[in-house]
Amino acid sequence: MEFDLEDPLVSLEEEQTFTISELFASESEHVPSPNCLTSTHFRVFCCEAISLILQVQVSCKLDPFVAYLAINYLHRFMSSQEIPQGKPWFLRLVVISCLSLASKMKNTTLSFLVIQKEGCYFKAQSIQRMELLILGALKWRMRSITPFSFLHFFISLAEIKDQSLKQALKSRASEIIFNAQNDIKLLEYKPSTVAATALIFASHELFPQQYSILRASITASEYLDGETLSKCFDLMQDMMRMEAKELMIDTSFLSTETPVSMLERNTKRQRI
């Protein structure tokens, strides 16, 4: 059984209207329950867990999609559970189990032995039991619909002819989505909204002359709510500004980018 997690519902040969409708209709089933977003415990727990997932991703050289999928499982699982207090091992066990499940769905090998070197030491049996808990809580729906599922569709709306432009746009939008997963506020928005917003940002950065056309075609989509898109846009803009500030603080970036080009990029972002 082979499948593509990036575009789970896109036809190999042509767009099918009913398929797109189904994709938008079912995306709400792959996001965390709305109630949890107001919980301080949920936010604190998930921030720590995400930090650990990203740490494991870097040290184990995991595919970014595996980490992204693991974070999706984390949000969905923890939004359906009460977070147990006073059990620090629980966070680590959830993290390792989500990463294990994500790597299995992505058809990559993630040995428990490798993860254990990162300080997440649990018996295989314990991980198996947690995996079963997560599988049950998520109703075995592990093929999550993420923002990546929608990129192809939105790009196709703009009717861009140049394949390399489309690929560059998709790559940059994907990068924006990967970077955005740190901010838990983004969970308030559906994956399709996040995808649309990321594409608008990417097009502004890469192809200013195409920007207005792409933005118009995306916002005209019957599947998106204009007001929600606008709010998501504002949030992502704040995140981008924060990212720019962090770049200026981190001295390791100074050696790879001149102050002039950094200033130019920062100025460009502020103009959005």
Binding site: S11, K104, L135
Partner: protein, 329 residues
């Protein structure tokens, strides 16, 4: 890592109890392991395979017949096997009239995973062997249309079946309804399952798989469907009737040894192709598949095309002239 082991085990049990209401994961704490936890009553063993066993059961709530596939797990050093997770996850997203419906998932801790499916009367292999192959052209066409509809649906969701064969095509007798089954389990799982490799050949594998190409896609399923198509017409596996020492030789005997012209890239894929060179001129499909109308033979030849890039897709097959007859609907 933790101070009291009994404490987190207690936590687990509490979490498990709260998950007891999950409709997909019907394990309940306190109940003894077995069929009872799946809310089914076992009637008999319907099939045995390398993966485990299939039981014919009654659903205790609805009284309906169901099929429960019990998969034996060994060597759990890596947790729940990936194949089970992927099969269940994919089936949970595939909703089509011609794809078997997965009703429930349950587990007996550390030993079995139980998948409960809707029950169908028999599979296409049994149909061909025991009831005489469908000599009726209308039945063949109807079955082919349903199989292709399911395959086109899977491919539109970027799901490859990879193991299409008559025993994975289920039939509802009264409705003459076809459903695809066995999404990924009926094959070798070296690390997670006990499995005995069947002796003999697999007559449904595409040539690009037999050449050990790692880059294959939806076309492999269309080759398998073509083999099923031929088998329904002639009453036995197509590549069984061709005398050959292996299935690749059989394919080349039937369709001719490929060249760079007929299958661009073949010499890189099969450096040892010279073993077959000049050995086979095509016998032709029409030699073996008699009694199939010309448009059917044309469709079959487009499915059993050596070059994967030229093989017809499931979507295009459904629009082929073979299916435009009003008579069979």
């Amino acid at each position: 890592m933790w101070n009291e082991e009994s404490d987190w085990i207690g936590s687990f049990d509490a979490l498990l109890a709260r998950l007891a209401e999950c409709s997909m994961c019907s394990r309940r704490s306190g109940e003894r392991p077995g069929a009872a936890q799946m809310d089914v009553k076992i009637l008999d063993v319907a099939a045995e395979g390398g993966y485990g066993r299939v039981f014919r059961c009654l659903d205790v709530h609805t009284g309906a017949l169901v099929a429960m596939k019990q998969i034996t797990m060994v060597r759990l050093s890596q947790g729940i096997p990936a194949q089970i997770i992927r099969e269940v996850s994919l089936l949970r997203e595939l909703h089509h009239a011609n794809i078997v419906k997965l009703l429930r998932v349950g587990f007996t801790e550390n030993r079995y995973v139980n998948l409960v499916f809707e029950h169908l009367d028999y599979d296409l292999h049994q149909f061909i062997v025991n009831r005489g192959y469908p000599k009726d052209a209308t039945t063949v066409k109807s079955f082919m249309f349903q199989i292709l509809s399911a395959v086109a649906y899977c491919h539109s969701r970027k799901v490859l079946h990879r193991d299409l064969k008559p025993s994975n095509v289920l039939i509802n007798h009264s409705k003459r309804l076809i459903k695809l089954a066995d999404f990924g389990l009926a094959r070798e799982f070296a690390d997670d399952f006990l499995y005995t490799e069947k002796l003999g050949t697999s007559w449904y594998r595409a040539p690009e798989i037999l050449c050990h190409s790692r880059q294959y896609s939806t076309q492999v399923d269309l080759w398998s469907v073509g083999c099923i198509f031929a088998e329904m017409v002639i009453g036995q596996p197509l590549f069984q009737v061709i005398n050959c020492r292996d299935e690749l030789e059989g394919i080349f005997k039937l369709l001719g040894t490929p060249t760079e012209e007929t299958w661009p890239g073949i010499t890189k894929l099969m450096p040892n192709l010279h073993i077959y060179c000049s050995k086979f001129d095509p016998l032709g499909l029409e030699t073996f598949v008699t009694d199939l109308e010309p448009s059917g033979l044309n469709l079959l030849s487009m499915m059993l095309c050596l070059d994967p890039s030229k093989r017809i897709s499931a979507e295009a097959s459904l629009k082929h002239a073979y299916f435009t007859d009003v008579n069979w609907i």
